[in-house]
Amino acid sequence: MNVISRGIKNALRSPLRSGAIVLMLAISIGLILSMLVARSSVNAKIDDVKSNAGTNITISPAGVMGFAGGGNNLTSAQVAQITSTAHISSTSATLSDQMGSTDTNLTPSLSLGNFGTRQMRFESSGSSSTSSTSAQPSEFANRPAPTPRTTVTGTTNPDSVSANGSSLTITSGSTIDGKSSKLVSLIGKDLATKNSLTVGKTFTAYGKTITVSGIYSTGNTFQDSGVIMPLATIQNLTKQVGEVSSVTAKVDSGDNVNSVVASLKTTLGDKADIVSQAQQAADSVSSLQSIASLALAGVIGSAVAGAIIILLAMIMIVRERRREIGVIKAIGGTNRKVITQFVTEALTLTIIGSIIGLGLGVLVSGPMTNSLVSSQNNNSSSSQTSGRGFGGGAGAMISGGFNRISSNFSQVTSSVTPAVFASAIGITLLIAIIGSAVPAWFIARISPAEVLRTE
């Protein structure tokens, strides 16, 4: 029986009260852990988004967005300027056009719908609008409207057309060389079905016969209704030699993206609109950053709450045991021994609270982090478990519940990095120290003469 074991024994002296203190502490420590986990996983997510953000820069003619807006295409001189900019490792250029029934014998696979009709309402009003833009080539002058059109994209790199930036999926045939000027094409899956086109067959566009080299599929209805041809082919067919409607430049390293954007802005001036993926990524994570700082505030708040709980509990305990402290001092106990005993008591409560709190934190932080940052991974796992619950009845639901806990656990443990763990332990220690320091001061001031006081 020494001072340490007395302290531990005292902590368990009144089970109901100790239980209440431990529970309150556990809740605040659980909150600290889950907030730390939320913060670290949010930060990890921010880093992930930033590091995975491509180094691509998209340069489009000023005022043009898709097929909307107005302005002049980028010229070959401007493309050359872009290509020669330092730190740009590669570029791909595209020129897009829309083919109506006079341009091609292809039947569009997209119906016009409300959106398409609205886009074309001006062109249907007569020839006055087309005559005012007489600078355009004669092919475009007398388009009957409104009819749905087929989008054709001339590109130096067919893969750049894919929806997600990875390589284009060719379902049959083979891809085309974007650098050539041959009359070949890739046809979107929907358009190919609509026109019964297969590899090797031909169709007419801009008065020429084009061979189908391959069929592609992107899963995007708009893109699967289009045609891809080499850039030079489209430039020749539409008599826009050297012109492009969009350039995608790849920068050699993420660190150089900002400087490249700045130098492009200088060289191209107001002729082009420049958008970098890194900029888009930074914009998209700004809300995550505010969640991270919110989580930090949560950590501080729960740490303060924990410290106050243990502080008040220890003050209450010390006041209540004034006489006992006086007795210990009277029979020769030193201040240090009495303080050590009470600090041990506070530490015991904090440690028990921490163990329960960390357990609570593990259970809580998964769902909490999910609700703060919904990630694809979790969505799929939850839909999986709910599916099982419906299918297999109660047993499957229970196993689904366990899966959920174990998935939370693995998710949390994966985010409980040594740094997070160290800060959780550090904060807990801080709580115990603050929680004992003030009571220790009270203890030191209690006079041994207290024992002679009769109540």
Partner: protein, 222 residues
């Protein structure tokens, strides 16, 4: 040998200074059983507190075996209390969540006895004051008042103190039990040659001690 010279203690209160003790001088020989009697508020407890180094006198000296305890540092006073003084209180003042045995062992710990020897010594002390082995493992709340006072006497004697200070040791006990406790203290003072100073109301008890000091308004009157 305990020599008290010109001892004073003044408390500051809202209504001005209050002299709890006013120039008390007395001498008690080693092994003597002395009693201090006086009415409530006469300064009995204050004197006892000063003799036990629980409090510091405003003026005067307390010499115990040639050392003035009033001039010791706080740490030395704690050591003095641990080794030279044993306290017996009216309310027993045992630590409620420790067993009788552990209460005595606690005093031995403060007295500096090695851990391995404490248990045997505590058991011996408790047996000497008449606490049975099964009662030694009980907590104070499961002991009678007389038994608790016996445990507190065993605790007071744990470190073979020079002086045992008893504050109304029989005050909370019925007269028969009180007499037994008094006899126990008396026997110990004889067998161990321990100086015992008891504060009491009970004139019967005071009459049986070697010497009686009477306090009134902070002064010794007889």
């Amino acid at each position: 040998m305990l020599i008290v010279k010109n001892l004073s203690k003044t408390f500051s209160t809202a209504s001005g200074d209050f002299n709890a003790l006013d120039g008390v001088s007395l001498t008690i020989n080693t092994g003597e059983f002395a009693s201090i009697i006086g009415k409530s508020g006469s300064g009995k407890s204050t004197l006892l507190g000063l003799l036990g180094a629980l409090d510091i006198p405003t003026d005067g000296s307390i010499e115990v075996d040639g050392v003035d305890i009033a001039k010791l540092s706080a740490n030395k006073q704690t050591t003095y209390r641990a080794k030279k003084i044993g306290f017996v209180f009216q309310q027993y003042n045992l630590i409620p969540n420790l067993t009788a045995l552990e209460n005595v062992m606690l005093a031995l710990e403060f007295g500096g006895m090695p851990m391995s020897k404490r248990k045997a010594r505590a058991e011996q002390l408790l047996t000497d004051v008449g606490i049975e082995p099964d009662e030694q493992l009980r907590k104070p709340t499961r002991l009678s008042g007389g038994q608790q006072q016996r445990v507190s006497i065993a605790r007071a004697l744990a470190n073979k103190p020079a002086i045992v200070l008893a504050d109304e040791p029989t005050g909370n006990l019925d007269s028969e039990t009180g007499k037994k406790i008094f006899d126990l203290l008396h026997r110990l003072s004889r067998s161990e040659n321990t100086t015992i100073i008891a504060v009491t109301h009970d004139m019967d008890i005071a009459g049986k001690t070697d010497r009686t000091f009477k306090l009134k308004d902070g002064k010794i009157t007889a």
